[in-house]
Subunit: 145 residues, 2 copies
DNA sequence: GTAATAAAAGATAAAAATATCCTTAATTAA
DNA sequence: TTAATTAAGGATATTTTTATCTTTTATTAC
């Protein structure tokens, strides 16, 4: 559904929300290991998520690392997709038409439009915090082996 | 949702189903122009769809070209995804976990499993022919400008 | 200050997806 | 049989995605 980059981003954000706090920041090595993502590549992704204080926060130096504010935890999962530039994917025409609309639809349009809102809602209604809590409660996991 | 390659494949198959018959085969140039796909790249995709007589058929030489049998027209759209190796995408874990199941789910699993069958059904219930007829009836299009 | 730590930033590298071109094989018509 | 036509096949090129490595900057502790 999403690129590997975005999958790593989602897992990382959920992990940081689950394990980290401003008092207990998480290091890159810790995060990459926990979500089974390549370390250096994950660094780049975390930079994207940090840029402009959009989703996660970071501090350099000893005791530094990544964390996510209580406020940011309330953001919908979709906001992560948005930072990664993949929320547009949800809106895209199934056949890849540049102009696919009610007025000029592709042959999949009519049926796809019925479920598209459900897919979008999937990422809009769930917050980062909700997913992190799922993992904390032992109901689910983000490891990958 | 799908790769550009698969988007071209879907558009090409629908176009061939709509305009071509065994008596009136369609040439590569015609197809590529109609669906606004790069000509040579489309040739490779049509080869994939032709291989083993899976979806479309082809004949070389003058008067040759591509067409799709009446029987193949009845195939679900999903069969095209399958040939292009993208039907697995529909089954994949949203967070990219290798092992995401009821027993060991990711935090998106529970909500995603509610709509996944709808997405799959979208491509399983529609046949190539149904989409082609939509276009023939003027209800939709597969051009791209 | 200096040394140590950890993320940011930049430069490359490798792999996969997308795209083009040239040659070969099959088919038809003259 | 020769020429023309059209897809198949193979080689190569370009772009994007994924990944790694090195250097720089910020922060902390001493």
């Amino acid at each position: 559904m999403f690129s590997k980059t975005t999958e790593y981003a989602l897992r990382a954000v959920i992990y940081i929300a689950q394990k980290g706090t401003e008092e207990n920041k998480l290091g890159l090595a810790d995060i990459a290991k926990a979500i089974h993502s390549p370390r250096s590549f994950t660094a780049k992704i975390l930079q994207q998520l940090t840029a402009g204080g959009k989703i996660i926060s970071s501090v350099r130096g000893p005791g530094g690392g990544f964390y996510i504010s209580a406020k940011a935890k309330k953001l919908p999962v979709r906001s992560v997709l948005s930072v990664m530039g993949e929320d547009v994917k949800l809106e895209k025409c199934v056949l890849g038409l540049k102009h696919c609309s009610e007025e000029k639809p592709c042959p999949m349009h009519a049926s796809y439009k019925l479920i598209k809102p459900l897919i979008i809602d999937l990422f809009e209604s769930k917050t980062i915090e909700m997913l992190a809590n799922e993992v904390s409660a032992g109901k689910s996991n983000i490891g990958n082996l």
